[in-house]
């Protein structure tokens, strides 16, 4: 038990006095004091196990000095440690010799060669010749243990980093030690491969070449790699990454150990979809994205035809002029832009053209004015909160590394999780209380949580509610994670529930689990109706959000629509409306990737994408970090900022925002938003807007813990950027930050439950048909297929069997689909994944949704 009353203890390391925190591990205390103790199994982000015995040092004790593992031993006041004695040296040399005894001598053909901790240790300390004259241990050389990972058991040094990651961090022991003694091996089950969303992390932390990633294998040698530190923009967590390339070809993304964000971890989507970026022509054996748009296109005679930038911009400008009224122009999207790109487009569209019809969300988010009024929590605060309430989708599917960060608290620190939910959730087994709600009922339950009065007809019991309320209190210290658990449920239902919680639990703070990459930054830059750059808000303005724009397109009031990045068709839940809208409006698409939207585009302006561009982004907690280019964009794709600026020029106005730096400067000068300071200090963990900026020095990254990552910057922003919620006062005199009273939510009436129907819970999958997945040869094969999950008893009730195909009666007509039973599905509901196709390649999900109703009810019948 560390003595809580003391804040420091003193130990002696090799005769030097060292200060350490009580309960700190000896290995870290010594390291901070400049004494690096060799190690293999120790990893700073996992519990120590003291298995490899490389870190043995001499520690004085009652029975004289004994060899103790520094990675496991906690410091105690007065501890006397020797790390350099002959005895220590002999023990460490002995361990290294033992590790090498059975280790193959295949460094020249090993992926890890050149960045291998074992190799480095051997060069530094090894004896150079072997005394091991026996036959080495033999296993079949690399075996595929999952879709993305190969295992070479001969190289394994049994450090248990991978198995510990799987069970301790990811919470899915899909790989485990098997066997005993020197035949011990890492093994998956033959019936269940290693198909975790986090498998790449095990490759990254393997201290030898035992685990290798299929997409990276043999693609480069470490010494040929160049690296920049950047931010992953695959989702809104914004993990810090080291992006590496060999020449102008992206080869690898590794997780950087960012204390406030990702602790070194990444999800496989963020790690491995880098091949969706690569649009260059390469040798045929190289995975290469097919989906990149590399030159401007204009529709001529019904066909999209390559043209020069000049021609394309002129054509786009002409369309905008022809629209006539500014209110006939709108823009949808923006979450894939950098803050600078978003700002430039906002300035062009709102500032120059004068339209208020802007929306970075696709009707699948939350009310942006409501968001502005929520007291925000950081990821760290949520991870440290003793009570967390979630009203969101399955975080493992939507924001994987946020899932890891939160899971740690529930799994290892005794934090309590209360789920308010109608959908599946990977955190559920760790939840203290699950308050189940049927689709449409979230506001009812939110009100009950706040008031303690439980209306009849909910699925929650009185005592359950009372227990949950006792944990939550008035919300003080509670972090509420809000997002969209069910895309078939009207956004306004969730908005209402969130608003009830915000009013009723005044002590609580919120973490907004919006999924799309820089959606937060785009909203902060004003890409929403009534919003203004710098988290501003104009109470008198009015404009259309995405659903309204789509309706206006169909009705002909919005005649020209700019689609900013992303794939509109793949993201809007009401696919029918989206298709009709695109067909009825002129469309200018600004995108780096192809997609179904392009079939309706009149002008296509090719943009650079992640790992090709510079700028800043803002993650879901409001943290502004820099993104950096590692490779050039293919063909003649341009950065978003340049496209906005050039289109503005072609249209007739010079925005004065011709470069990312100019944009960043303008953002910071006019709104106080820390774009420029972050951009100029690229390699740091960024700053959270709305918070005071305290410089945090990052620990130097230990190559033993993060092999393969070249040095990263360890210090960043040293001074405060001052107030951070200034507004762009130049737009209108009324602009200000939104207050609670500014939130005006429409009430929706949820229809009564139909006893013969199941309510649809439409969920997100990590491996959906999004652009990154579709464009990635490495991950594309993993895209989920559609199926309908139903509780076994509901299926029984309907007289149906699992695995059967059933007829679904939906508003758009009848269709067939395979059903599977799942005990975790709420009775009276069915779960389907959005953005997937069924095994016949049909998008039946789109046909299920009843866009005319706030919830979708489906009737299932035998064929």
């Amino acid at each position: 038990m560390p003595d809580a009353s003391r804040t420091k203890v003193n130990i002696t390391v090799d005769g030097r006095s060292v200060e350490a925190a009580p309960g700190e591990l000896l290995i870290t205390a010594a390291e901070r004091a400049g004494t690096y103790i060799p190690r293999f199994c120790y990893h700073p982000r996992m519990e120590p196990v003291g298995m490899c015995r490389m870190c043995l040092v001499e520690v004085d004790g009652p029975r004289g000095a004994t060899l103790q593992p520094a990675c496991y031993l906690k410091v105690a006041d007065g501890m006397n440690v020797t790390t350099t004695s002959d005895k220590v040296k002999k023990a460490q040399d002995g361990v290294l010799e033992f590790l090498l005894a059975n280790h193959p001598l295949d460094c020249p053909v090993c992926d890890k060669g050149g960045e291998c901790p074992l190799q480095d240790q051997t060069l530094a300390h090894g004896s150079g010749e072997t005394r091991f004259a026996e036959e080495k241990r033999h296993f079949v050389k690399p075996v595929e243990i999952g879709e993305l990972v190969l295992l070479d058991r001969e190289r394994c040094i049994q450090c248990a980093r991978c198995t510990r990651f799987a069970s301790e961090v990811a919470g899915e022991a899909q790989i485990a030690f098997a066997g005993r003694g020197d035949l011990i091996e890492v093994a998956p089950s033959p019936t269940q491969p290693f198909d975790s969303f986090f498998s790449g992390n095990t490759v990254q932390i393997c201290p030898v070449g035992a685990l290798t990633a299929k997409p990276y294998r043999f693609s480069a040698r470490p010494w040929d790699l160049e690296q920049v530190e950047s931010t992953c923009t695959t989702c809104a967590v914004g993990c810090r990454v080291a992006v590496q390339s060999s020449g102008n070809r992206l080869t690898r993304v590794l997780g950087v150990d960012s204390e406030p964000v990702n602790h070194g971890w990444l999800c496989d989507k963020g790690r491995f979809t880098l091949d969706s970026v690569d649009g260059h022509e390469h040798d045929t054996d190289v995975l290469s994205a097919q989906s990149r748009i590399t030159q401007p296109l204009v529709r001529r005679g019904g066909e999209l035809t390559p043209v020069s930038w000049g021609v394309a911009l002129a054509e786009a400008a002409r369309l905008l002029h022809e629209a006539g009224d500014a209110s006939a122009i709108g823009a949808i999207g923006g979450a894939t832009l950098t803050n600078e790109g978003a700002f430039a487009w906002e300035r062009f569209l709102r500032g120059a053209i004068g339209t208020e019809n802007l929306d970075a969300q696709f009707g699948d988010g939350l009310d942006p004015v409501l968001l502005q009024t929520l007291p925000l929590a950081t990821i760290d605060e949520a991870a440290a909160a003793s009570v967390v309430l979630t009203l969101t989708g399955d975080l493992r599917e939507e924001l994987p590394v946020l899932f890891l960060r939160l899971r740690e608290g529930f799994a290892h620190q005794g934090h309590a999780l209360v789920e308010l939910s109608s959908g599946p959730s990977a955190l559920r087994p760790l939840a203290r209380h699950v308050l189940s709600v049927r689709p449409g009922e979230a506001p009812t339950l939110a009100r009950a949580l706040v008031s303690g009065r439980l209306p009849v007809g909910t699925l929650v019991g009185e005592s359950e509610l009372a227990d949950a309320r006792a944990l939550i209190g008035d919300g003080t210290g509670v972090v509420i994670v809000v997002g969209r658990a069910n895309l078939a449920e009207d956004q306004r239902i969730v908005d209402e529930a969130v608003s009830i919680l915000a009013h009723g639990l005044p002590g609580a703070t919120f973490l907004v689990a919006l999924r799309r990459a820089n959606v937060r930054g785009a909203l902060d830059m004003g890409l929403g109706p009534r919003l203004r750059p710098g988290r501003g808000f104009d109470p008198v303005a009015s404009g259309r959000d995405t659903p309204a724009q789509l309706r206006a397109m169909v009705s002909g009031t919005q005649r020209v629509t700019i689609v900013l990045g992303g794939c509109l068709l793949g993201n809007v839940v009401d696919q029918e409306l989206a298709s009709a809208a695109l067909a009825s409006s002129k469309v200018i698409a600004v995108t780096g990737h192809g997609g179904a939207t392009l079939a309706h585009a009149d002008v296509v302006l090719p943009a650079s994408v992640q790992h090709e561009r510079t700028g800043t982004v803002t993650n879901l907690e409001g943290r502004v970090t820099a993104v950096a280019p590692k490779v050039g964009a293919p063909g003649s794709a341009w950065p978003d900022v340049a496209i906005a600026a050039e289109l503005a020029l072609a249209w007739g106005q010079d925005l004065g925002l011709g470069s990312v730096e100019l944009c960043a400067q303008a953002i910071e000068e006019t709104t106080g938003y820390a774009a420029l300071s972050v951009l100029q200090d690229q390699a740091f963990d960024g700053v959270v807007m709305g918070r005071e900026v305290t410089p945090v020095a990052r620990h130097a990254m230990d190559p033993m813990a993060f092999p393969g990552i070249r040095s990263t910057k360890t210090a960043g922003l040293a001074e405060s950027t001052g107030a951070t919620t200034l507004l762009d006062a130049s737009t209108t005199a009324t602009t200000r930050g939104a207050a609670k009273d500014d939130v005006h939510l429409d009430k929706v009436d949820v229809p009564l439950a139909d006893a013969y129907a199941l309510r649809l819970v439409l969920v997100r999958r990590l491996y959906d048909r999004g652009i990154a997945m579709q464009g990635s040869p490495a991950l594309g094969a993993l895209i989920s297929t559609t199926s309908l999950s139903v509780h076994p008893r509901d299926l029984d009730h309907l007289g149906l069997a699992s695995g059967a195909r059933v007829k679904v009666r939906a508003r758009a007509g009848d269709f067939e689909i395979g059903v599977v039973t799942d005990e975790t599905v709420l009775r009276g509901t069915c779960v389907a994944p959005f953005g997937t196709l069924d095994e016949t390649g049909a998008d039946v999900v789109a046909r299920m949704i009843d866009a005319s109703s706030p919830v979708t009810q489906l009737r299932l019948e035998t064929q």
């Binding site: 196990v49 033992f98 005894a101 003694g181 020197d182």
Partner: protein, 434 residues
């Protein structure tokens, strides 16, 4: 001549064919001790065990009373009985679980009462299929007669005992590994500190782990008093102990002997005990306390069978097993087989034990079967030194548990005592006897 007049404390029913039955147990005084214990305060029961100065019979020889009172004021959650008995040539617990399961069960209930735990587990090695059945039957009988379960014999004390089958892994005898195994995991010993399960044991809660024989002594101690037990033996080694004698003796078996009053010579040569070696053979070496212990030679035959007496000469009484090797046996072969055992049984957690055991075994194999080199002898010692630095006794260790540092015991002993035999193997290109 051996001193054989001490009472049989744990093997009093050894000559009865039905010693394992409820009826026989009751007829021979069974469960009187439990009734007596239940009439005492729990702490007074513990005090008797403390007074008996009963040393643990599992191998480490830690006083049971001290272990029980380590956390005097806080509650112990679980009692776990160690019946994994896998130390080669140790077979005394085998005798106790198969032949006297009720005595074990009564001991467990008494200990549980003294410790005030309501849940106990008896971990038996899985290969004891018959023993598992006999202990389960003994528990069923005890439940049926009110000696176990709720309100035992009408007292306020309730207890549940579960027999837990192991599944074949020597390391699960090591108490922290046993707990991991009991938690349903791979038997990886836990890293110390904490040094005692009494602090963090099963499910992280305070737990007492004691050996089967340790438990089996309790009915006698309660019936006769701790002082009577302490009056037997000498010094720290009180009472009697079961010794398992094996190897090249005429009459191998389990013998209950008063501690310290007898010597190795007595147990090996007394006609009532080991009966000596085969005609015409002489003693080459013997292992005094399980294959983890350093070896003794004929010069140590007169050492008394006492914990400290053996410890003073650089070995241990350990698990109470004595293996006799006569002059016809090959010490290189014996050593190789012991290293093979450790190599198969290393749990594989720590590098020095996992890799060292395999490496040493392979070198020993070559020496015995051909292909040995003179430099192998120094290599062996150096590899041993890398597992147990200094090759001293008790060993220092580079490993998590003491299985690793047990590997050098036989290698180091054999090499120091019989280096010529090793040299002969090298020169001959294998075993000269084979």
């Amino acid at each position: 001549m051996a001193t054989l007049d001490a009472p049989r404390i744990v093997s009093s029913r050894r000559d009865m064919a039905d010693s394992f039955t409820w009826v026989r147990y009751l007829e021979t005084g069974g469960y009187n001790a439990l009734r007596k214990a239940l009439s005492m305060f729990p702490e007074d029961v513990a005090a008797q065990v403390d007074a008996a100065s009963l040393l643990g019979r599992g191998g480490a020889g830690f006083p049971a009373g001290r272990k029980w009172s380590m956390l005097r004021r806080s509650a112990i959650s679980y009692l776990v009985v160690n019946g994994d008995e896998s130390e080669p040539a140790t077979f005394k617990d085998h005798y106790l679980v198969e032949r006297d399961p009720h005595q074990l069960v009564e001991g467990v209930i008494i200990a549980a009462y003294a410790l005030q735990v309501t849940q106990a587990f008896i971990f038996l090695r899985g290969e004891f299929a018959l023993g598992l059945e006999r202990v389960q039957q003994a528990l069923n009988d005890a439940y049926a007669h009110g000696a176990l379960g709720s309100k035992i014999f009408g007292s306020d004390f309730s207890l549940d005992v579960v027999v837990h089958p192991g599944a074949g892994a020597y390391i699960c005898g090591e108490e922290t590994s046993l707990l991991e195994s009991l938690e349903g995991k791979r038997g990886f010993p836990r890293i110390k500190p904490p040094f005692f399960p009494a602090v963090t044991g099963l499910y992280g809660e305070p737990t007492v782990v004691n050996n089967v024989e340790t438990m089996s002594n309790l009915p006698w101690i309660i019936n006769n008093g701790g002082a009577a037990f302490a009056a037997l033996g000498a010094g720290r080694s009180t009472g009697t102990r079961l010794f398992a004698l094996a190897g090249n003796v005429k009459n191998p078996g389990v013998f209950e002997l008063e501690m310290v009053k007898n010597t190795f010579r007595d147990i090996i040569f007394d006609p009532a005990l080991g009966g000596g070696l085969a005609e015409g053979r002489s003693l080459k070496a013997f292992i005094p306390g399980g294959v983890s212990a350093p070896w003794f030679g004929p010069d140590q035959l007169d050492t008394p069978l006492g914990q400290d007496e053996v410890g003073a000469l650089g070995s241990m009484l350990g698990s109470g097993s004595i293996v006799v090797m006569d002059d016809a046996s090959c010490v290189v072969r014996a050593t190789w087989r012991i290293t093979k055992f450790f190599s198969r049984e290393s749990c594989g957690q720590c590098t020095p034990c996992r890799e060292g055991s395999g490496w040493i075994e392979r070198v020993m194999y070559r020496l015995e079967h051909g292909g040995g080199r003179m430099e192998d002898l120094d290599l062996l010692l150096d590899l041993c030194d890398n597992i147990a630095p200094g090759l001293s006794w008790p060993p220092q260790q580079t490993t998590i548990c003491v299985l690793g540092p047990s590997i050098p015991s036989s290698v180091h002993s054999a090499l120091s005592m019989f280096r010529d035999d090793f040299v002969a193997h090298v020169n001959h290109g294998g075993c000269p006897h084979a």
